[in-house]
């Protein structure tokens, strides 16, 4: 069964990717096939996605991250939490983040 993101849970980037800021974009290179392949599919995050990504540091819970983002972005707490959970679900599905026990 696929793991679902939770507001009380803590996440960090997985060891199966390399993420790097390139020409103003955050590029994520999956290493899942045992190779960093620029000819294969890479991923990028938009600006709001980057705001979440840089807070996934293995220390803060998603609830705390949503609280921090409320100071920078418009939208009710419920809306921000939903956006954070949505993105982390997507990252979990692609094994780009892992839960910190």
């Amino acid at each position: 069964m696929e793991a679902k993101a939770g507001l009380g849970k803590i996440y960090k980037p997985s060891g199966e990717i390399v993420a790097r800021e390139i020409e103003g974009e955050l590029i994520i290179v999956p290493l899942t096939a045992g190779i960093g392949d620029m000819e294969d599919e890479l991923f990028s995050l938009n600006e709001t996605g980057r705001s979440i990504w840089k807070r996934l540091d293995g220390r803060k819970s998603l609830g705390e991250i949503a609280g921090e983002l409320a100071a920078d972005y418009d939208g009710g707490p419920g809306e921000i939490e939903e956006d954070v959970l949505g993105l982390v679900d997507e990252l979990l599905k692609r094994r780009m983040v892992v839960e910190v026990p």
Partner: protein
């Protein structure tokens, strides 16, 4: 989250559409290989013709503890301009290595081992593996390259085949 950028999203990108500067390519290659995995990318330029051509896809292995030898084709940072290049080791000196593009007339001297990012293990052209230039004959090729024979041969025979318009790109 209300922002001009909209909701947070993860977008799939084709690596081919990314135009990487030299610094970005070096950084990304170094970071991927620091994880102990190979890095595969498309090269531009003719400096290693005819063994590696413009548009070929190469796989670079992390240097690790590997002993670098004459004839190996390596990805490195050019001391002259700090840009990445893929050239062949044609000699070893006390300060490091002498590297040269097979199609170039001059070599990069004094390339320290720390400036070498990795070793080219595989070349693909139009989806097929190209073995010439990386196998057993690579030491012979290094010798021929060091003496400028490959550049000469390419000019003479390439002209006959209509390839003389392709010059080295540094």
């Amino acid at each position: 989250m209300r922002s001009p950028e909209g909701k947070p999203s993860l977008c799939a990108r084709s690596g081919r559409e990314l135009l990487l500067s030299g610094d970005s390519l070096i950084g990304l290659m170094a970071e991927v290989m620091a994880e102990g995995v190979p890095f595969r990318f498309r090269v531009a330029g003719y400096s290693m013709s005819p063994f590696i051509r413009d548009g070929d896809v190469i796989t670079v292995l992390p240097k690790g503890g590997r002993r670098l030898r004459r004839g190996d084709v390596v990805a490195y940072v050019r001391p002259v301009n700090g840009r990445p290049a893929v050239h062949r080791i044609v000699g070893r000196i006390s300060a490091g290595f002498v590297l040269k593009g097979d199609h170039e007339s001059t070599a990069d001297f004094h390339v320290a081992e720390s400036g070498i990012l990795g070793v080219v293990d595989r070349v693909e052209r139009n989806g097929r593996r190209v073995r010439l230039g990386l196998g057993l004959g690579r030491r012979l090729i290094a010798g021929l390259s060091a003496w400028g024979f490959i550049t000469w041969a390419f000019r003479v025979f390439g002209r006959k085949r209509g390839l003389s318009g392709q010059g080295p790109v540094s």
